[in-house]
Symmetry: C2
Subunit: 253 residues, 2 copies
């Protein structure tokens, strides 16, 4: 039986059917279901594996404000831009408030990594960079509303975070609330951003063709997140497959 | 001890030192050394794994003429373009002579795959597409000679092919000379193309800065090839990790 996320459609869906379809993609393909995240939440990753995750995922964090700037640049609507720029402010921070990128570096540092090495990205895996660049390309080459739809993975992230944070605090003795400062504000930022984006997408995607485009964008975004964890699993969980030039954990880590 | 491929340099190398450096990159990072290729040459891949390889690598074959067209478009020199366009002709074929892409589809088909499915790329892994697009981006964003340098993996491919073809013929009873028709012409095309490119690169890269750029391009190209095999290994050798939506071999294959 085909899943809802994969059933082809030729007639336009209603706005609510489209939302169901988008949510079904998350149920099946969001990276919360990836074996690497399952190991992480179960407390089964070594510190070295956790470092590899933080170091590689920094590459993803680092392009978020850039892809949001591309989205801003595609809009002619000051109201849209005022709303969307919040994302850039959240990631880059402002006077007196560090942003998500700085908090991600703090997470990496508190896992024992050198912040400058992480920020340089030079020990990240090529596969991470390729996936992350695919996200920038997706946003750059798509019409505004399709680019907006690719952000809808945020519909699913609060559940992921609310599972991950308590699991990490409980199961890794070197992780504390301070380490995970990145995640707390995401619990209200992500739903705020996702609801705004979802309403726009539902309003815009009224034909089968547009709906196919937004569904495709969300699937591709899920693929981009999934591929990053596949690369991490292969390199740092399956023994003996770290690609040439990439981060090598200390033996004890 | 640092390897020759990784030793930093600040003064310009001689042309021959640069060639040594480029060849050292191949010795260390060319995908002939990847565990997936080692399994292939040892006759240890299942038919389903071989199918996954052929189907995914088609995505790489498919962008070669496109990246060569980008390189052509960067040159102002008819002599260069006359030489470089041979690559496009080799891949796309001409009146009375099928090209490399058609031969790759023949390889896929004789492994039991549907040619149209392969050509559609719809069952290829996202990680494959991300790596392949990284190659197009590399070529598109680099100056002509740096883009040319990224093709220098062809210096190493005749050795790979001359190992792979007899190994495959010997160790897989469903593979014959006809299956592998793609590889035979590559044994003279690749050295012809690589020598031409190498001479140009050696002639152009006379400063440390240019040399660093061409060395970087060749390393990135090796990373692109390596990442494709990492994804194949993770999905089709390590059990249980085929990414959502990607090709699933028949149980008996």
């Amino acid at each position: 039986m085909q899943s809802l996320a994969e059933t082809p459609f030729t007639d336009a869906l209603s706005a609510d059917q489209l939302e169901d379809r988008l949510r079904a993609i998350g149920d099946e393909r969001y990276h919360i279901h990836h074996p690497f995240h399952k190991l992480m939440n179960a407390g089964e990753l070594t510190k070295g594996q956790m470092q590899a995750w933080a170091l590689n995922r920094y590459c993803y964090q680092a392009i978020i404000p850039k892809k949001d700037a591309i989205i801003l640049s595609k809009s002619d609507d000051p109201e849209f831009r005022r709303e969307w720029r919040k994302r850039i402010i959240d990631h880059d921070g402002e006077e007196g408030a560090r942003g998500g990128m700085a908090k991600w570096l703090q997470l990496a540092e508190s896992l024992g990594l050198d912040k400058d090495v992480v920020a340089s990205k030079r020990l990240a895996m090529p596969a991470t960079k390729f996936a992350v660049n695919a996200y920038v390309d997706l946003v750059a080459n798509a019409p505004l509303m399709v680019a907006v739809a690719s952000s809808l993975t945020e519909l699913f992230s609060p559940v992921a975070i609310s599972e991950r944070v308590p699991a990490m605090l409980k199961r890794y003795d070197y992780i504390n609330e301070d380490t995970l400062a990145y995640f707390k504000p995401r619990l209200h930022q992500a739903p705020r951003d996702a609801e705004f984006a979802l309403a726009l997408v539902k309003n815009w995607a009224t034909t089968a063709e547009r709906q196919e485009a937004v569904v495709g964008a969300l699937i591709e975004k899920c693929d981009i997140l999934w591929a990053q964890l596949d690369a991490l699993y292969h390199a740092y969980v399956t023994p003996g497959h770290i690609p040439p030039g990439a981060f090598v954990p200390e033996p004890q880590a």
